[in-house]
């Protein structure tokens, strides 16, 4: 059988190490493999590596899978892996390099054809989660190959479930089944991935039968598609948290005014009571039902249930207008204050609508909403990063097996040298939390690490560093005779599709 897949995104290159962004990885994961991979709930599974052991805090032994062959028939060797991991950090002009993934490697040595010994610069408990996600290319082929060689297919030789056949940028990518694949045999002989970025067009393409399966189904269309016989929707709540960031660190905030719209020289958002109040003014379920057509789960922390680091004891804050008003009054803002909500409008489904709904809810809660400003992401991020906004909506997708990376990037104090807080746009700083995170990430024992992360999560969200809104649900839709593994990492890949029994 053949599969025609309509995808919202398209890759910028076939070289799997060129860019770490999702659109490239979606393609790479079908042609290439990594040492480890994740399942639908982002749990680590062995892939090209079958086992790994931590000999001492600085030494790791990784055992490769036997009998794995590249598409050109050559067997996978330790040399290929070492080459790939070396290559990962010096891809010229890579916009999103894998260099962070291999940054902790001090040295690599092939113990035999199937075993590699790694030395790290410092103890790295999540070492496998770092190097494990780098795609492995064949040394003989990739050495000296240019990006064009990959794009044309000459160097696009991997160990993955599908072989690369052709790529017409902007139009489609064609794959054929790799019959020598080490893993589960794929159901499809040929796979064509059509790039259809417009949501409505993608849905129309499915409905007209031009494609068999589509990704990123707009929430508003889910019901309609479900109602069409012969079509089916595959959904999952992803690990992407949508949140409202609050400018809580500065003494004055640009878009905070008094009731009359005059700038306020105090910043109410510094007060945790105010932040809690804002959070409680939001009726998350209502937003989910009305704006997102049910396509989300209310969130009260970074990662959803099922992802390591989630603390089941933290519930999504309940809508409680009375308490919120009380809190506001306690903080000295009985009559509220003026606020402007900023948002992107092309980043994730419903971003602008959600912002408006938040505006409505704040207004009902007694705040003066001076405006809801929606901008395209490219303009928006600049303002957001530059601290030009007071309250703004962002999302953070967690694609790693634990919440550690997300917490580190989003909530730890911004510090270039330490590499923490790289997306901490509001410059939130909580030394106690930082310390808890440091201990957690240094912990080798997996179970303990998760517990420490939960503790840190609990501590930090009590301070409302950002207001978590919901975890977005993602949907795929396809013909009824297909199956698809909906996954939290939002991957679209033919390897996840199959013929339904």
């Amino acid at each position: 059988a053949d599969l025609v897949l309509g995808s919202a995104t398209e890759p910028s290159a076939i070289d799997p190490q060129f860019s770490r962004t999702g659109n490239n990885q979606n393609i790479a994961m079908q042609i290439f493999d990594r040492l480890v991979q994740t399942d639908a709930a982002i749990n680590v599974e062995p892939a090209l590596a079958v086992s790994w052991t931590n000999v001492d805090p600085l030494t790791w032994h990784v055992k490769l899978r036997e009998g794995v062959k590249f598409h050109d028939g050559n067997p996978l060797t330790a040399e290929d892996v070492i080459f790939s991991l070396t290559r990962a950090k010096d891809i010229p002009n890579s916009p999103a390099p894998f260099s962070g993934n291999v940054a902790s490697i001090d040295s690599m040595k092939a113990l035999d054809n199937q075993t590699i010994e790694f030395k790290t610069k410092k103890p790295t408990p999540d070492f496998m989660e770092q190097i494990g996600f780098v795609y492995i290319v064949e040394k003989k082929v990739a050495e000296g190959a240019s990006i064009e060689d990959f794009n044309s297919g000459k160097a696009a030789i991997g160990t993955g479930a599908y072989r690369f056949k052709s790529w017409t940028p902007g139009d489609n990518l064609v794959l054929t089944r790799n019959d020598d694949f080490w893993g589960k045999k794929q159901d499809f002989d040929n796979v064509t991935i059509k790039f259809i970025s417009n949501d409505a067009s993608r849905v129309a393409a499915l409905r007209s039968g031009a494609v068999d399966l589509i990704d990123a189904v707009p929430p508003g269309d889910v019901k309609t598609i479900e109602g069409i016989s012969g079509l089916k929707v595959f959904s999952i709540a992803s690990a992407r948290m949508i949140y409202l960031a609050l400018d809580s660190a500065r003494d004055k905030s640009p878009f905070i005014t008094d009731k009359d719209g005059k700038p306020l020289d105090k910043n109410p958002l510094k007060d945790v009571k105010v932040r809690t109040a804002l959070s409680e003014l939001i009726n998350r379920q209502l937003i989910i039902d009305r704006i997102l057509d049910g396509s989300a789960e209310p969130a009260g922390q970074l990662v959803p249930t099922g992802v390591a680091g989630n603390d089941p004891s933290i519930a999504a804050p309940a809508f409680n207008a009375d308490n919120a008003k009380k809190l506001l009054a306690e903080a000295g803002y009985k009559d509220g204050f003026g606020i402007t909500i900023h948002t992107s409008n092309d980043r994730f489904p419903g971003d602008a609508e959600v912002a408006q709904a938040l505006g409505q809810m704040f207004a009902r809660g007694g705040l003066k909403v001076n405006g809801v400003v929606a901008q395209p992401y490219n303009v928006y991020t600049k303002g957001a990063s530059a601290g030009e906004f007071s309250a703004f909506i962002f999302s953070l997708g967690n694609s790693t097996p634990t919440s550690a990376t997300g917490l580190r990037n989003l909530l730890m104090t911004a510090n270039k040298e330490a590499g923490t807080g790289s997306f901490n746009r509001v410059k939130y700083s909580n030394p106690a939390f930082d310390e808890m995170m440091r201990t957690a990430t240094a912990e080798f024992d997996a179970k303990k690490r998760v517990e420490l992360l939960q503790k840190a999560t609990k501590a930090v969200f009590a301070d409302v560093p950002v207001i978590p809104l919901y975890w977005q649900k993602v949907h795929w839709a396809g013909k009824a005779n297909l199956s698809y593994i909906a996954n939290m990492t939002e991957d679209t890949s033919a390897t996840l599709a199959g013929l339904a029994e």
Partner: protein, 324 residues
């Protein structure tokens, strides 16, 4: 001649220079490419690495000078996103857009001129009313809406025509194009219609107006007095007189169709430069945007150059160098 070409050429260089400067400043003003490129969980170190490797750490003027110097040597830079020469990205996709645009334009002309003539020759008749009313639909609704309707009607409900992508390509005289296969043509129809509806209305209306304005002129009467057939009067005497506005508009519209095929290409997932452009703008892929604009502006300059030549061919009174 040489003087003229040199003059135009120098002017064009100036225009292109200004274009490049505007884009540089514009993109700089819009946002930071790094934010758009970097993966969501990148570390500060990775970030710094990317900034240096793309040369974004240098001051803007320095980036511009580097660009200008390379441009002089025929290198318009490499795409941030694709890491490929931006010019080759553009030329790779230009054929698809050209194919779409030219088909749309031909469609607009082949249908628009006869309809315009028909309605201009029989003003206020039922035919005229029908054509004029119909043509209003061509431009009163935004084209993304029209495009969606076309897809809904012809692909989803009727199932007659494919709605996405470019279809199979055939080769003819060494040119690869989807015009040469049935499947390719089928894929082309809807987007071409979508793209041409506005121009179609414009052509109809301009033609009609031209006819209405020209018919009462004395030379038409004289042509009648010579016993010319109505056909010749309409197709030679009247038609040639209305060519100037038509040529202008066709020139303008050819360019703007090329430049603004964005919406159509997005909706119909047509792998052309419009789509590339909007993606590049949205991702702030400056080298591609600059190269694209340089190409399109050059194209406009060229089209306008051709249009100027056509003026003097069509109307001998234009550009008559009368003083010595």
């Amino acid at each position: 001649m040489t003087v003229f070409v040199i003059r135009r050429f120098l002017q064009s260089i100036a225009v292109l220079l200004v274009t490049a400067i505007i884009v540089f400043i514009g993109i700089y003003a819009i946002g930071d490419p790094i934010e758009m490129l970097i993966s969501p969980d990148a570390s500060p170190a990775e970030r710094a690495q990317v900034i240096t490797s793309l040369g974004l750490d240098k001051p803007l003027w320095q980036q511009f000078l580097t660009f200008a110097w390379n441009a002089l040597h025929g290198d318009l830079g490499r795409s941030f996103v694709f890491n490929r020469p931006s010019i080759s990205l553009i030329f790779e996709r230009l054929p698809a857009t050209l194919e779409l645009t030219l088909t749309g334009l031909v469609f607009a002309l082949v249908l628009g001129i006869p309809l315009g003539l028909l309605s201009g020759l029989k003003p206020n008749s039922a035919t005229d009313e029908a054509i004029m009313t119909g043509s209003i639909f061509g431009f009163s609704l935004p084209s993304f809406w029209q495009g969606m309707m076309l897809i809904m009607i012809f692909s989803v409900w009727l199932g007659w025509l494919p709605s996405t992508g470019r279809g199979q390509m055939g080769e003819f005289l060494g040119i690869r194009s989807s015009l040469f296969t049935l499947d390719g043509l089928a894929h082309l129809i809807l987007p071409a219609i979508n793209l041409s509806l506005f121009k179609l209305s414009l052509v109809i209306r301009l033609t009609r107006t031209g006819v209405r304005e020209t018919l009462p002129l004395d030379f038409v009467k004289f042509a009648r007095a010579k016993g010319l057939s109505e056909k010749r009067i309409v197709f030679v005497h009247v038609f040639k007189s209305i060519l100037i506005p038509l040529i202008t508009v066709v020139g303008l519209e050819l360019g703007s169709m090329l430049a603004f095929a964005v919406v159509t290409e997005t909706i119909f997932a047509w792998p052309g430069i419009g789509k590339l452009l909007i993606d590049s703008i949205m991702r702030l892929d400056r080298p591609v945007v600059v190269a694209y604009l340089l190409v399109i502006v050059s194209l406009f300059i060229f089209i306008n150059f051709v249009v100027d030549i056509l003026y003097s061919l069509v109307d001998p009174r234009v550009r008559l160098g009368d003083a010595q």
